[in-house]
């Protein structure tokens, strides 16, 4: 009998619940209107009576299960003028009863039993998304049902989540590190859109690993995340210059500063946490050391050139993955580090046009040069004995004639400043235009489409006249979202053209003698610089040296070198939620790139026509004069990956896993030709050539490289306190040895979020404290095709009617990818509500099985063989500290400091490298160089030289110290020992950022301390100089001249070559102002009347000064420049 109401009410309830879910909002509105205040005063009355009174006062029906709710119990209650709910709460909670108000009905149940009453627990599914204040999704945010510790969920990478609740009146707690937690009451809604406000500073919260994003607080690896705006603030045109400021262990290596600010110089050596592979050696010559990280743009690998030419306005964020836990998912490509670039997604909302203008002014920086002027050169040459008799007793009259001619020239005012001749102040400009927006959602059935059109173009002129690089790119990006399906498509085209300066290498200008005139009296440039130009024709000169005028050919001849690169790609991505928590992601990219390089050398060049050459008009000379080289290359890349991800949350356990695979095929082609026989300087087209270059033939290659990888990442987190991360990858490539087609990689990472522990709860000092550690292997795939395979190549002229094919190398079918075992320990913390942030890492990387040449018995027919041999280690720390001492409504000041120290050590080297050491030692005896040696136990950056005791004041000769401690004047290559190391004790960047309302002032300084440098300027421009070229002023002032002089540099008369000596190894402490910037954003209120919605102006100055304890010439073949950037961004 008594059960009936209950059953009825349960049925009733179900119906109500259904209708509620369908039109929850409406009902909730009704409900809020119906609220009335109650007053209840009872003393030892039964609950039933109290409820009767509530029913009377509120007019609501009341349901309960009499079996469970004991209404006969006597209670006392005193509630005055409380809203219905509050009154019920005060009444029922002490009785361990719960209630629910549904459509004028109060349902009373035993606490925590509502769910049970519904048949199964938490059966109301709530969906929604979590975004940051800008509307960008926040993956990894935790969602918890208040009052039920065991119910929680985590947002996925699109920021979407779902959670089951017991009631539509439940409250959800949204939290995410770095953001203010937010409690939201469902109020009957089944879909909630949450925007979290940043708790403190804007913090990088998502690690984009390229395959799948991860929340930073669940990341066990080491990564540096830089958002696009911060990057552009440092330098808005040069990606690498901007990025290096954010991570001290990211280094673009240009050891001697040879390439300066050459706009066409693409870095070929970038190191993250030290050098971890041996350089290529051929015929005992060191080939260029190439080590580059892998660059991933929107999930796919791109070349360093593409990154160099990327429009920086397209960048949303850049992530540098540094250790195994972060990078193992990239397997065989990751050993040099991984740089993940995410491009900007279309903004939502109505049509928005944003235009950015970047302009910059480059001013050559010649401050490192300290060259002699005309008078000093002459004095130097006189003291060096250039005008003395070369053998005792010889009549030096002719030489004195030369001296007098020069003297007379100087008296008449000749003092040519050659350095400025090829230089200009250059202006660069770049324009970016974004047109974007979204098509409004009409109803739930048609999805949401976001679109973006991006256009960019600009020209970069270098400070050397005629050198330039022009870029143009256009792209569209579409993003379609419909329920559980997300499709993106990115189509992009770009064209880059570049031109080398016809003025040639800058070193020609630093060496030209200032006492030579540039032009004759008619204003015509001299072809060669010599005294004959100005001396009376009947005068016999003792000095007949001449220099080529570095200007002549640039002024009069049409030689050129240009190149063009066209690139097209389409990138399609699909992201589909199959069932709750399970997602399928696929990305497919096709790209096609073509390159063309044209180089023309005029037939009138000094290379072909020397002075006084009587063969100039003979046919075979004529037909081989002038040369045009054309080379083409193209690459078609097809690649795709598929990833399945699964997220499972049970109580405090959170499990996330992905599994995926990728395939890539790359078809490369190239061809090149050389033609000669140009009759006329101006006939610069290829077709004017008479013939192919003698004995040359078209060259070219065609190859296909295929690679595949399967990978998985499993991440387990307990209560977001303890995290475990496992990654595995199996990589295969057609470049690997046939017997080693696949290589496995793995990593294990752990993290402890200490600040989430109970004992840390009640303090306000530490907001975030976490320690993490990881270990794993990553590989380096610096292979070329012929290393694993014995390849045949076609030989030159035929043998009879047959073209010869010969084996180019002995392939090693056992060759495998070299492996680096990375270990990393890191701590990160955040004190005083974000006022102090520190991230500190210690790492130890061991590279084993380095790809290196080993010597084999030449009776095999080959001398070397690539194999996995040679070990090296890199140890170090890097840290990044940010302090925000001032934060008010108008003001904010941030200070930052980062630094790194790396120690490199060679553990084991191959026979070939030992042989190289022997050969190169001998070479140092013949050539005027300081050499690069490899020794076990030393660093790759060790400097080798013979120890020096300085200059003997008696003779002006250098005194060397042998290994046995003996003093000698003789330099012997075997006495070279390690005398220094180029690794800095500490190197990094520091700076400040000051914000006042719409103003923003910032700076970054680059510092380095304790590195040893071999000062080549001392070696080459003060000593060991060519007296017939211009040199450093100190060659005149600081060299030994007469007995008794205590001098730093050897005798001024000593023309013998200088050998590598410890005298020129100097400790460097260096500071440079990397960038200084000021920006102003026009306040929105001022813009309200206009159609302009945002206007930001900024100016950045780069490389303003450079102070070093070492005075050394920089920018040898291309000068450095100081740059002032202007940027204006206008949104419509």
């Amino acid at each position: 009998m008594n059960k009936q109401p209950c059953i009825k009410s349960a049925r009733y309830l179900k119906t109500i619940l259904f209708s509620l879910i369908l039109c929850g909002c409406l009902l909730l509105n009704l409900e809020t209107q119906a609220q009335k205040n109650l007053t209840l005063r009872f003393r030892q009355q039964s609950l039933r009576e109290v409820l009767q009174e509530i029913k009377r006062q509120s007019g609501y029906k009341i349901f309960y299960n009499e079996e469970k709710v004991n209404t006969h119990k006597n209670i006392s209650v005193s509630i005055s003028d409380q809203p219905l709910k509050e009154a019920l709460r005060q009444l029922l909670t002490p009785l361990e009863l719960d209630f629910e108000i549904i459509n004028n009905t109060i349902v009373i149940s035993v606490a925590n039993d509502i769910a049970a009453a519904h048949g199964k627990p938490q059966n109301i599914k709530i969906t929604g998304s979590v975004n940051d204040e800008k509307g960008q999704p926040l993956p990894g945010a935790t969602i918890r049902l208040l009052g039920a510790q065991s119910v929680g969920s985590v947002s996925d990478e699109e920021g979407n989540f779902n959670i089951r609740v017991t009631s539509l009146q439940d409250e959800l707690l949204f939290s995410f590190i770095g953001y203010k937690s937010l409690t939201v009451k469902l109020n009957g809604k089944t879909n909630v859109q949450i925007k979290l406000e940043p708790e403190i500073l804007e913090m990088e919260t998502v690690i984009a690993s390229g395959y799948y994003p991860k929340a930073k607080n669940s990341f066990t690896g080491t990564a540096v995340v830089v958002n696009g705006d911060d990057l552009r603030n440092i330098n808005n045109t040069h990606f690498f210059d901007a990025l290096k400021v954010f991570d001290p262990s990211f280094k673009v290596i240009d050891e001697r500063g040879i390439y300066g600010s050459d706009p066409n110089r693409i870095p070929e050596r970038i190191e993250i946490r030290g050098q971890n592979s041996f350089p290529e050696i051929s015929e005992s010559n060191l080939k260029t050391v190439t080590s580059l990280p892998v660059f991933i743009l929107d999930g796919f690998e791109i070349s360093v050139e593409k990154v160099y030419d990327l429009d920086m306005n397209r960048i949303a964020s850049v992530t540098i993955l540094k250790d195994a836990s972060a990078a193992a998912i990239y397997g065989s490509r990751a050993a040099n580090g991984v740089i993940v670039i995410e491009s900007r997604n279309p903004e939502t909302g109505k049509l928005q046009i944003s235009y950015t203008f970047n302009g910059s002014l480059q001013i050559p920086d010649l401050s490192s040069y300290n060259l002699m002027n005309a008078e000093e050169v002459l004095e130097f040459q006189r003291q060096a004995g250039v005008f003395d008799a070369s053998v005792p007793g010889e009549d030096a009259g002719n030489k004195l004639n030369s001296y007098n001619v020069i003297r007379k020239e100087i008296m008449s005012g000749v003092n040519t400043y050659w350095l400025s001749k090829p230089l200009q102040v250059s202006f660069q400009h770049r324009h970016s235009l974004f047109i974007e927006g979204s098509v409004k959602k009409q109803n739930k059935e048609t999805g949401n489409l976001r679109y973006q059109i991006n256009l960019s173009g600009g020209g970069t002129k270098g400070v050397m006249k005629g050198s330039e690089r022009n870029q143009f790119s256009a792209g569209t990006k579409l993003l379609y979202q419909h329920k559980k399906l997300n499709i993106t498509n990115d189509l992009h085209f770009s064209r880059v053209t570049s031109q080398e300066s016809p003025y040639g290498s800058f070193s020609n200008y630093t060496q030209a003698l200032p006492y030579h005139r540039e032009k004759d009296e008619n204003g015509k440039y001299y072809r060669t610089l010599s005294l004959q130009n100005v001396a009376p024709s009947d005068m016999s000169l003792g000095i007949n040296d001449f220099q080529l005028s570095p200007v002549y050919e640039a002024k009069y001849l049409s030689s050129f070198t240009t190149s063009e690169n066209l690139d097209f790609y389409n990138n399609l991505g699909i992201n589909w939620e199959l069932i709750s928590g399970l997602r399928l992601k696929g990305n497919f990219k096709i790209s096609n790139e073509t390159n063309r390089t044209d180089a023309y050398l005029s037939p009138m060049s000094y290379y072909y026509i020397k002075d006084n050459d009587n063969t100039v008009n003979e046919p075979d000379v004529l037909f081989s004069r002038g040369q045009y080289n054309l080379s083409n290359s193209s690459g078609l890349v097809l690649s795709g990956n598929v990833i399945i991800s699964y997220t499972l949350s049970r109580n405090k356990h959170l499990f996330q896993g992905i599994i995926g695979g990728e395939l890539k095929q790359q078809d490369n082609r190239s061809d090149s030709y050389a033609v000669t026989g140009f009759m006329n300087d101006a006939l610069t087209h290829l077709s004017y050539a008479v013939q192919f270059k003698q004995y040359s033939r078209p060259a070219g290659t065609e190859n296909t490289i295929r690679s595949a990888g399967a990978f998985s990442n499993l991440n387990y987190s307990f209560d977001n306190r303890y995290l475990l991360d496992l990654t595995g990858r199996l990589d295969g490539s057609s470049l690997f040895g046939r017997n080693q087609p696949t290589t496995p990689f793995w990593s294990v990472g752990i993290r402890w979020n200490i600040s989430r522990e109970k004992f840390m709860e009640n303090q306000n000092f530490i907001q975030n404290l976490a320690v993490r550690a990881s270990i794993g292997t990553i590989g380096n795939q610096n292979f070329t095709l012929n290393q694993a395979m014995s390849l045949y190549s076609w030989l030159g002229p035929t043998y009879g009617p047959f073209s010869g094919a010969s084996i180019t190398s002995l392939g090693n079918p056992n060759l495998k990818c070299q492996e680096t075992l990375n270990r990393n320990i890191g701590i990160e913390f955040n004190l005083l509500k974000g006022s102090i942030n520190l991230d500190l890492n210690y790492y130890n990387n061991i590279t084993k099985g380095n790809l290196t040449d080993i010597s084999i018995a030449p009776s095999i027919g080959f001398e070397t063989y690539k194999t996995n041999m040679g070990d090296l280690t890199n140890n170090g720390i890097d840290f990044s500290l940010t302090i925000t001492p001032v934060r008010t409504k108008d003001w904010m000041l941030t200070l930052n400091l980062n630094g790194s120290h790396n120690t490199n050590k060679i553990k084991r080297i191959s026979e070939a490298l030992k042989k190289y050491n022997d050969m190169v030692g001998k070479k140092a005896e013949k050539e005027n160089v300081n050499v690069f040696l490899f020794e076990e136990g030393q660093s790759m950056n060790t400097i080798y030289a013979v120890r020096s005791l300085g200059i003997d004041p008696g003779t002006g000769k250098e005194i060397f110290l042998t290994k046995n401690g003996e003093q000698t004047f003789t330099w012997n290559p075997d006495e070279q020992i390690p005398v220094g190391c180029k690794e800095a004790d500490l190197e990094g960047y520091f700076g400040f950022n000051l914000k006042y309302r719409s103003w923003d002032l910032g700076s970054s300084f680059h510092y380095s301390t304790g590195a040893d440098k071999y000062n080549y300027t001392l070696h080459e421009k003060i000593e060991g100089v060519n007296n017939m070229k211009n040199n450093d002023r100190r060659a005149l002032t600081e060299r030994w001249k007469r007995p008794g002089d205590v001098a730093r540099y050897k005798s001024i008369k000593d023309t013998s070559p200088t050998r590598s000596t410890s005298r020129f190894v100097q400790k460097e402490h260096m500071l440079s102002l990397n960038s200084l910037r000021l920006s102003y954003t026009l306040p929105t209120e001022k813009l309200k009347q206009n159609f302009i919605s945002m206007l930001r102006l900024s100016a950045t100055m780069n490389d303003l000064f450079y102070i070093s304890t070492i005075r050394q010439e920089r920018g040898l073949s291309y000068p450095f420049a100081r740059t002032i950037h202007f940027a204006a961004q206008i949104n419509f």
């Binding site: 190859n703 009617p801 047959f802």
Partner: protein, 487 residues
């Protein structure tokens, strides 16, 4: 769902090996190269092309180093001086010797690789016998090149019979063979050459008369056989080796066999024959007498010779007039010139000069009808001298004399004929004349040094005409450091 994941993984993992087997163009993987008949001809041509490099027969083993070591030229710089003084320890000479060793073995490695493929290939060859010819040439080259190394890097067995030095390489790979004794090596060499002879016997187009169908693309041309290790080159090489072993009867037999070509072939179809006075026009190296010679590249030997005798003006030895006592000698007339502004200094300016061209051969390029000089590997003259020396050693001096007379007849001199007519020819006198012919016949060809070595000559005439003691050890080039192993 699970099924599709599984399928995906299986797809990726199972098809790995095919997927990773990407073959590059321009550079070609071996499987891809050896997919048709022509490829074997290309690989073979590749070996001959390697042999004409400057480190080998393009310079060091023909006109340059070995000739300085034979005291045939007056040295003009540090390197050539050290060679005439047999100082093998200078860095330049060490490198030169090292490069010879490596590049010879590189050519041998190429023989082995090609043999590996031709033995295993299932391709049906279009031209009958061509498979046998190519295989034969490869065996012959392997044997002959090892013998060349043996002559350089081993002492003559009569001096040090148990010497162990170089390996005999029969496989391609990263493992080297063990050091073998001269006897063992000779066994291998003879074995390979005999095997080659067996393969080439009758299949070599030299045995058949010429007909027009011989000239077809992808077919080894009968006309160009002397640019390859042909059947008679193999028999001539065997004659050379048996003489080296001092097995005179065998040496004579093989020498005699070589002459069958001339005796049995209609003169208009002979590819090598004596090239009497007045026949040769611009063919100064007498290429019609080469049983096997290597075509020089367009910038090869010619340029080396031009540099040595044009720019450097390197003179012949001072005893030149004694070597060539007759001014009628076609070699004297056609190979040398008086050095400018001198009356008694000569230079070898003609033999390998730019103007010296092979006549009558089809060309490598369509532009010219003639080939630049050819580098002789083994020629008729040497085979005649082998026959003569062998017969003389077998005490058949009169028969032996006929071989020398025929050679000298074609050189327009008649020293032996005169001796024979006057009845004053003795075994010793003939031996002396054979020695003199080695001087005359191979000037600039790198053979004389090996003759001295084989004869264990302890006294030689230096380039300046003075006699000096030659220590036996100097005849043997040092095996390069790490030549056999790296440890």
């Amino acid at each position: 769902m699970n099924k599709s994941i599984y399928l995906f993984l299986v797809l990726i993992l199972s098809s790995c090996n095919d997927w990773f087997d990407a073959q590059p163009q321009g550079n070609i993987g071996e499987e891809q190269l050896f997919s048709d008949e022509t490829a074997f001809l290309n690989a073979l041509a590749g070996i001959y092309t390697q042999l004409r490099e400057n480190t080998l027969y393009g310079e060091q083993l023909s006109v340059s180093s070995l000739e300085f070591m034979a005291q045939n030229f007056v040295p003009d710089d540090e390197i050539s001086k050290s060679l005439t003084a047999y100082d093998y320890s200078t860095p330049e000479n060490q490198k030169m010797i090292h490069d010879i060793w490596r590049d010879m073995y590189n050519a041998i490695a190429a023989c082995n690789k090609t043999l590996e493929h031709i033995i295993a290939t299932e391709i049906v060859f279009n031209f009958t016998g061509q498979r046998e010819i190519i295989t034969g040439e490869l065996y012959a080259l392997r044997g002959a090149l090892h013998f060349e190394l043996l002559r350089m890097f081993h002492p003559h067995p009569s001096v040090a019979p148990s010497f162990k030095g170089m390996p005999y390489m029969t496989t391609f790979g990263s493992e080297t063979g063990p050091a073998l004794s001269t006897g063992e090596l000779l066994e291998y060499i003879i074995h390979d050459l005999k095997h080659a002879a067996k393969l080439l016997y009758k299949t070599d187009p030299l045995f058949s008369a010429y007909n027009n169908s011989d000239e077809q693309p992808g077919k080894l041309s009968r006309k160009l056989r002397t640019f390859h290790m042909n059947y008679y080159a193999v028999t001539a090489e065997l004659a050379r080796i048996y003489l080296y072993k001092k097995e005179y009867q065998q040496a004579y037999n093989y020498a005699d066999t070589t002459f069958h070509h001339i005796r049995q072939m209609n003169p208009s179809y002979q590819v090598f024959y004596y090239f009497g006075p007045g026949k040769y026009n611009s063919d100064k190296s007498f290429s019609r007498e080469h049983i096997f010679g290597i075509a020089s590249g367009p910038t090869g030997l010619t340029q080396v010779a031009e540099n040595m005798f044009g720019e450097r003006q390197i003179e012949t030895c001072q005893s030149f007039k004694i070597i060539y006592p007759s001014a009628k000698d076609t070699r004297y007339r056609d190979w040398f010139q008086l050095k400018a502004n001198t009356t008694d200094r000569f230079i070898l300016s003609e033999k390998f000069s730019r103007e010296s061209l092979l006549s009558g051969y089809t060309s490598t390029t369509s532009e010219t009808k003639e080939l630049p000089v050819r580098i002789p590997f083994i020629k008729l003259g040497e085979v005649a001298l082998i026959a003569a020396e062998a017969l003389n050693e077998l005490n058949r001096t009169n028969e032996a004399a006929e071989w020398v007379i025929e050679l000298q007849n074609n050189r327009d001199i008649d020293f032996i004929k005169d001796l024979k007519n006057t009845g004053t020819l003795t075994k010793a006198r003939l031996a002396e004349e054979i020695r003199a012919e080695y001087h005359r016949e191979f000037y600039g060809e790198g053979q004389l040094f090996f003759f001295h070595k084989r004869m264990n000559d302890t006294q030689l005439i230096r380039y300046d005409g003075k006699q000096f003691d030659m220590p036996a050890t100097k005849y043997t080039l040092p095996i390069p450091a790490n030549g056999l192993s790296v440890n």
